[in-house]
Symmetry: C2
Subunit: 162 residues, 2 copies
Amino acid sequence: MPRPHTFPSADHDHRHCLDEILTAAERLCRQRRARLTPRRRRVLEIVAESHAAIGAYDIIDRLAADGGRPAPITVYRALDFLMSQGLVHRLASLNAYVSCPQAGAEHGAQFLICHDCGAIGELADPGVEARIAEAAAHVGFEVAMPLVEIAGTCAECRRAAT
Amino acid sequence: MPRPHTFPSADHDHRHCLDEILTAAERLCRQRRARLTPRRRRVLEIVAESHAAIGAYDIIDRLAADGGRPAPITVYRALDFLMSQGLVHRLASLNAYVSCPQAGAEHGAQFLICHDCGAIGELADPGVEARIAEAAAHVGFEVAMPLVEIAGTCAECRRAAT
DNA sequence: GTTGACATGTTATACTGTAACAGAATATCT
DNA sequence: AGATATTCTGTTACAGTATAACATGTCAAC
Ligand SMILES: [Zn+2]
Ligand SMILES: [Zn+2]
Ligand SMILES: [Zn+2]
Ligand SMILES: [Zn+2]
């Protein structure tokens, strides 16, 4: 069961957090017989380095620092794989990618985007989806994939602003 | 007051519909002392030619057919103006633009995107926004701009599919 | 070990959107 | 009306995001 609301706290131990994300990814891919190759693992590691979203070309820059700049398609292919496994999400409003804090758990995608610190949270609120489906049904529309990306200010940044 | 849910019916008289959109735009811009220049009016006309979304470069192609292909920036500037007046919306999930069926009425933007026929509807459901704001508040997040783009199947296309 | 499926490399290209500056049109004020 | 300020448009160049097509390499199963 996904927790209904998550937002990364500013003071959490992200070393540990990152380690958990990678470990969970390895476990999930082993279970599914999906191949988390070194390249894909490295891309996930880069995306998960922070809870902010990162653009594909910034990922390329990070990989270039490892030695040998890969072509864009290489990174997009890795991202496609990671998204197909639910390990990474794409944020259409930012053209950027973020690691999923609840990889493996089936969940709709409702993102909270702090425009101050860049951190990304996820809501998995059944109520939101239900309300959307209900409103859509009033015009006979059947929802397939709701996309919800909410820009605003996170708790930390609101505290900092006062 | 905006109607809470709208979706363009497949059989409506779109000649008339388009005419209303343009007339309303002229009235609104006159009231606001905003300058709906021929260029901008023509771009709105092209965007409103159907209730599907259209890409910026497709708009350029349509303008080129009028004679004299404008530079991309020209169209983006017209779109920026039209969006600032609430006459056109941008759909981040499609990188495309759609005319607003309720221009002038203040309303949040929740879009219904039929992936079969391409038609775009709008919800202006206060319940959806409220539910989102409430869920966000649970993690201390303050919503500034919720973006909701819902892919699915419209009533017409569901009927046609059976 | 061969086969077949999947993953990566290489090159080129398509699509989407902006920066910077010059010139034209429109509004405003005397 | 004429000078001035503002806004709009044109022109050129470029930045940022994503994919096509085809060759090569790698891995697992048979
Ligand atoms: Zn973390
Ligand atoms: Zn923040
Ligand atoms: Zn219409
Ligand atoms: Zn449809």
